[in-house]
Amino acid sequence: MISLKNIERFYNQGLQKAWVLRDISIDIEEGSFVTIMGPSGSGKTTLLNIIGMLDQPNNGEYYFFDEPVHKFRERKRTELHKHYIGFIFQAYHLIDDLTVYENIETPLLYKNVPRSQRRAIVADILDRFNIVAKKDLFPHQLSGGQQQLVGVARAVVGKPKLLLADEPTGNLHSTQGKIIMDTLAELHKEGITIIQVTHDENNIKYGDRVIELWDGFIKNDLKTAEALSASQ
């Protein structure tokens, strides 16, 4: 599904290059659940953004379903992104002025889904995530865990093939975090591909593969079981 070849990303700082990602080559199959780990500043978010087509590498090739994303113009990338990818953020990033219902509805608006269908899809999702009672509340009226649940609902409402989660439980305490992770696991079971960034060792077990970044390089790329035994 995803194939990265020799991806490099740097920022120009004065005359020097500040390297963020170097020589990243990864293949990810459809239906897998990948965890990206690494210390702060190691380039996890940047990698996620590149995979999510929000950011472009300076060098290297990126194939998404065998399509050469690195050759596409912005408009085309935006289209791909819009139809295939859902995002979950550490800080939830719900829109303050919109209700829960409206937040979840937004991606469908941009996909020009007709109104009646939208209503059905959103109702379905609300029901599924058990937040029907909250649909008319504004984000600041919800707890962090509830907000992130809405964030997940919003990310999957458009039926993406790939779900990208950047430290989705980073701002939550463990019980709330567990609910989110269980939800992701369930989504994964239904066939969605997930890439998560996390610091929390507990979250590793939900995935099937762990990629560890260190200063922009891939330090380890292991199956989850191997990774867990290695760290013990």
């Binding site: 953004n49 999510g52 929000l54 935006t78 995002f87 550490q90 800080a91 990033h93 941009y110």
Partner: protein
Amino acid sequence: MLTNYIKLAWRNLIRNKNYSIINIVGLTIGLACFMLIMLYVNHEWSYDKFHGDGDQIYRVGLERKYPGRSRSYAIIPHSYGEAIKEEISSVEESCRLFFFGGNNFQFKIEDQSYEESSFMWSDSTFFKLFDITLLQGDPSQVLNLPNQVVLTESAARKYFGQSDPLGKTILPLNQNQPLVVSGVCDDIPENSHFKFNILISSSSLGPFLQQPNYLSFSAYTYIKLTENTDPEVVERQFPDLVVKYASGQVLNHFGVNYEEYQAQGNGYRYFLQPLYDIHLTSNLEAEMRVPGSKSRVYFFCIIAFMILIIACINFMNLATARSAGRGREVGIRKTLGSNRLSIGAQFLMEAILISLCATVLAWGVTSTVLPYFNTLAGKQFILQDVLQGRFISMVIVVALLTGLLAGLYPALSLSSFKPVEVMRGQLIHSRQGRSVRNGLVIFQFSISVFLIVASLFVYQQWLFTQNKSLGFEKDGVINLNTTGALDRIESESFKNELLRLPNVIAVGGCNSQPGQGYFGISFKANGANEMTTGSGLIVDEGYIECMDMEMVTGRSFSKSFMDTLSLVINESAAREMGLEDPVGKRVTSSDNFLNTVPGEVNNYTIVGVVKDFHFQSLHHKISPLFFVHNQRSLLGAGIDNQISVRISSEDVESTLASMGSLWRSMESEVPFSFTFMDQEWANLYEKEITTRRVSSLFTIIAIFIACLGLLALAAFTAEQKMKEIGVRKVLGASSLDIVTMLSRNFLKLVIVSILIATPLAWYAIKQWLTNFAYSIPMQIWPFIIGAFLALFIAFLTVSIQSYRAARISPIHALKDE
């Protein structure tokens, strides 16, 4: 502490450079406009205030009543001046001025010919009543005798150079009696409702003043009341005076006693006008100078304040909008122990500092644009006017008030932040703050829409007055000021010679032109029992044709008839006299100032009716007009005061040149002088031109400042919504989606503004149009244009900002710090 505030305020200005610039630019322009308008308004208010005892001085005005209507005059019968002073004890002094507009005074000093356009006659009490300093001569002597004149300082210098003018003589043309200079006085200030360079003793006017006259109006009559006299008490004594003095003459002239005369609906009501109020409030017939207008002064004041308020609103909006950023600062300061007062003071200081900066800049701007403003407003302000202590102190007060106004709300709102809430980020999206901002934006744009619509109407009305058919053709007419210098035979041959010139189409003689003012005259149709008063005009046989006036029935004056006692009237006169079929009807006049043979009965026959034409500006309704043949000229049979020449548009220069040499061949002592009729007519609308120019300029400025604010607010909103924009882009929004989202709210505000401004503008414009006797109808399209223009400008302003925001990459927007 204060220096600390200033230091912090200054740092804040520097740190938020863009906002500071927008604030300062907006306030600078606003304050500069305010200063300029205040200069103008101050000047208008200052009229006649230089007369020390001016609060005791009044002008006597007259409301002349006719059955079913009345007209009010600034001039009254000349004998009342004396009568009032004698009969009413609280009248300390009286003074009459005589002024006949439209004429030039031509005279010789030694062998040199001169022409003076600004001159009056006055009683000897002039310098007792008015605070004009007499530089040379004895105040109680200067105007005592016939043929004495007082010159203003600059007139003395102009005519006599360095030599002492006292005792020198001036020889008026067409007169044998020389005038002797008996005094020199200060120049009349520009802000005076009367103006002269030469003041002639009223006794020089000749025998006409010796005849008692309580009926026909000629004198501007001023009285000075003793201190603390209620003018109403004086006014209440006037009716008895009228009965006492005028009733005899009424009986003589109209053949009825005064009571009966009044019962018919006629009468004379005299009233007092405070000297200080004449310029702005009086708009009577026969004013000496074009009066000002209180409503225009108010209108300009309102514009000035509106612009200033718009600029202040920018400041408030930007300050509170930025409260998200500043809120954190407030929170931290409060946790450090700062109280609300000192935080409020800090913000207020910032506002005042900005407004003071803007004031200094505005001062510079005002001084720089002063010459342009002068052309625009038709005034002569100089740098000293801006440097006057009074003006400076007013400006400083306004600057401080502006700072307070602009800073108070932000100071109150920002200093009320609770640290805990700020830290939790709750107030950052304060709904209350946003709705106040929305309200203020609506206010700004309501003003802008109002001004756009109003300017469109002012402009339309102006076009209308310019293009409305006047009933005669003013273009292509040249008026020669012959001032009766040619006698009957010379005049006849001069006119014939003119007609022979290649590009001359028509020639006509007259005593006055449309727009210059006509004399008053009354006629009574045979069998009618009341007089019809109207304007009189003396013309020759060629004039009506020359002006392209249209005859409705009958004929105009003609050489083939003996027309000395013929009369041509306009439609209004026929209507007012109640004549269905006027031609051939006989009418009599009681006015005997035309050169009548003593004892002759003034029986005239109407020979034709001219279609109503506008002989006054469109402020005035067309009133009755009587054309008298020039055999009965005020100056003598067959003598013309002015000669109108219609020329073809080709080769105007050479036509003028040949007319000039033709005039000189007549060997008259009067220099060749002419005016273009269309230009003179345009001068009648001078005030409208000023209003139009000033209102459109300040409208543009108001909109500019409002847009400046909108620009900053849009930029701010975009900045504040950066995260939301980022999220939406991640969720699949295109740039267009983002622009729409950001612009929509602002456009909603503008639409609300349009809804508010439209009815207000409708009402105000309807009121304004009633000032004109002839005006454009209320129309829809200026409102539509105004609405679209406001929407368009606002959209342009906002979308530029929104587009920039929409282009930003979401990963920058969403970076968690």
